[in-house]
């Protein structure tokens, strides 16, 4: 039987709070005996998901909910913000050739999450955005 462990946290909008989520991720991984190098890409996914949610979350609810469900084979990352939402298909894909020379060099979060995950889902409404990411750990 596969051992499943879960953790849920609510993070306020304070600088570098994503490191708290990363610390939790590392502890879960250690508990399940997952080698640190196996969660390297998961670290980036969690970081990008949390900073993205904090940046686009609403001012009235400056917090994000983060949930990890982890087995020795797979990690599910769930991040929810309470911002005004967005239409994923309307988000322009960043292109480094265009970014270099432009004033806005940011906007890489969604592309990174889509590219580094094994499954990536966005559910965005005017009441906020939920992102669910699956990442294989083997």
């Amino acid at each position: 039987m596969t051992n499943t462990i879960a953790m849920k946290m609510e993070l306020p909008k304070v600088p570098d709070i994503e490191l708290v989520a990363l610390n939790g991720l590392a502890l879960l991984g250690k508990h399940l005996g997952i080698a640190d190098d196996k969660i390297g890409e998961a670290r980036i996914l969690v970081t990008e998901a949390v900073i993205n949610a904090l940046e686009h979350g609403g001012k009235e609810h400056p917090k994000v909910e983060v949930e990890f469900t982890m087995t020795s084979r797979e990690l599910t990352i769930f991040v929810r913000d309470y911002g005004k939402g967005f239409v994923p298909s309307e988000v322009e894909q960043p292109d480094i050739k265009l970014k270099i020379g432009s004033r806005n060099k940011r906007g890489w979060g969604l592309k990174l999450m889509q590219s580094m995950s094994d499954d990536f889902r966005i559910d965005s409404t005017v009441e906020g955005t939920k992102i669910t990411i699956k990442k294989k750990l083997v």
Binding site: P15, D16, E18, L19, L22, N23, D37, G40, E41, R43, I44, T47, E48, I51, P94, D95, I96, K97, K99, I100, G101, K105, R106, W108, G109, K111, L112, S115, M116
Partner: protein
Amino acid sequence: MEQPFSLTSELKENRLVITTSGYVNNVGGETIAKEFNRHFEKGITSVVINLADSRVVNSIGMSFLLEIIEQLQGVDGKLIFTNLDPAVEKMLTIMGIFQFAGKASDVAGALKLFH
């Protein structure tokens, strides 16, 4: 917990080597860019960024490094990353950074690439 960001820099044969430690977030990225600019203004156009002790980075921090690439392009300079964590290397690859910057396993290897 990841350590707070810090960096050291040194000149080796007129090449700037910036070695970071800790989380490269927006503040870390901006600090790297400022350190680069301090030397770039004095004519340094060959740069190594050693991320050996920075296993956690974010895309906002990396965006600041695009400014370095942009400035070096204007003077035919070169940026090389070293000691990359595999996940960070994948991140930079997805961003397309290696179309404009090099990578090496360590600083010594990077310095050889300038010859």
